[in-house]
Symmetry: C2
Subunit: 207 residues, 2 copies
DNA sequence: ATCGAACTGCACTGGCCAGTGCATTTTACT
DNA sequence: AGTAAAATGCACTGGCCAGTGCAGTTCGAT
């Protein structure tokens, strides 16, 4: 049915395996042999599809970024004008926190950080494919809440930046850069702290 | 005068060179030969002092963390009860921002992130030597401001965490993980944004 | 002046791994 | 059934680098 189905399947299998192995071992430590084995594929096949190790890595990062984007955009959908700001922000906060603490997200950030020096463009790729879009979407939704009189916001972009900051920075510290799983109660508390502070600063009756 | 002075000097030279080279090339990519050359020392001397590459790396990280601690604690000294909260917070914010954006700080975070998987204990070392102490010191000072009626804070630890979040997360994004130098005007603006939001949430006339 | 510890220069081993070549087999499509 | 593209298995090269061994030199202390 599908054209060259076997080929496409293998490509995806390699991509998945590459992510798993790179996330576990890191880019340098991971061997192409290991990736091939994890994908159930001959090493040659990997090279046939991706040319060299670096291209494979890039492809894996890009796929990961796209995946993160859709998950984050979905998380934002809980932020609606027709809802109570407090409850809505809390739910979005929780959703975003869960995305942020996902094992895949941590792996992506780790790999990015680690190879920042040797592949500086990777960061731009991830930013333009995921981070920026999520921030913009969040700013858009905050702007609508502000228009509806539910928030007092001068610059939606700054507000979005700070909402993200109040969420992610504490999560980063508390999860110890992703090496510790945050218990649900602590996660909820962190989200609650972020939302409370955000609302004190930007809520409808903020000074 | 000093016992085995020559030895101590070499040790420090190696440590400095190790930091420079590791920061530039990354732990894996950096060669011990390169470090030795940068220190003006024979490779054997490096092994005499530090045993193996990993121990050298750990020692360099620890020295870096200690250095960061003292710089950050100094930065906090601008936060005084006898000053205007706004001006005081802004100055501390600026000081901390400068520490955070320092090339050494970025190098430390990068190396930490990159080797997180292979040396998980490094993070604990850095946290206990630097991060935690800075956060505690900040929380202490905020508590004194609160006692003096200049801030409305329930939990100083959370307030400190969030002040840090409002500062560092935007800086991380805007400097693109340290690969871009933030112009002074933008840095000031970021600090100002953070302080304004913090004061709206925790200022004396916050709701 | 002498002794010993620390340092040097150089050559070498052993392991790791990206990437290649080739002969063979499987798969997809006609 | 036949064909070409894709995949496989395996052996191999070449480069990189941590760590060692050794013979000789410098330096600080007594």
């Amino acid at each position: 049915m599908t054209v060259t189905r076997g080929r496409i399947d293998k490509r995806q299998a390699i991509l998945d395996a590459a992510f798993t192995v790179f996330a576990r071992d890191g880019y340098r430590q991971a061997g192409v042999d290991t990736v091939a084995a994890a994908a159930g594929v001959a090493k040659h096949t990997v090279y046939n599809h991706f040319g060299d190790k670096q291209s494979l890595f890039r492809a894996a990062i890009e796929a990961l970024a796209d995946d993160a984007l859709t998950r984050n955009l979905t998380a934002l959908e809980a932020l609606r004008v027709d809802r109570d700001a407090d409850a809505s922000l809390t739910e979005v906060g929780r959703n975003l926190a869960i995305c942020y603490c996902d094992e895949k997200s941590w792996a992506l950030r780790r790999l990015l950080y680690a190879e920042l020096a040797s592949m500086p463009d990777l960061q731009d790729i991830v930013r333009s494919r995921a981070t920026d879009k999520v921030n913009n979407a969040l700013a858009d939704r905050l702007a609508r809440l502000a228009l509806a009189g539910k928030l007092r916001i001068k610059d939606p972009a700054v507000a979005a930046e700070q909402f993200g900051a109040l969420l992610t920075a504490p999560l980063e510290a508390r999860s110890r850069l992703g090496t510790r799983k945050i218990p649900a109660s602590e996660l909820n508390e962190t989200v609650w702290n972020a939302v409370q502070t955000f609302l004190r600063a930007f809520g409808p009756d903020a000074r």
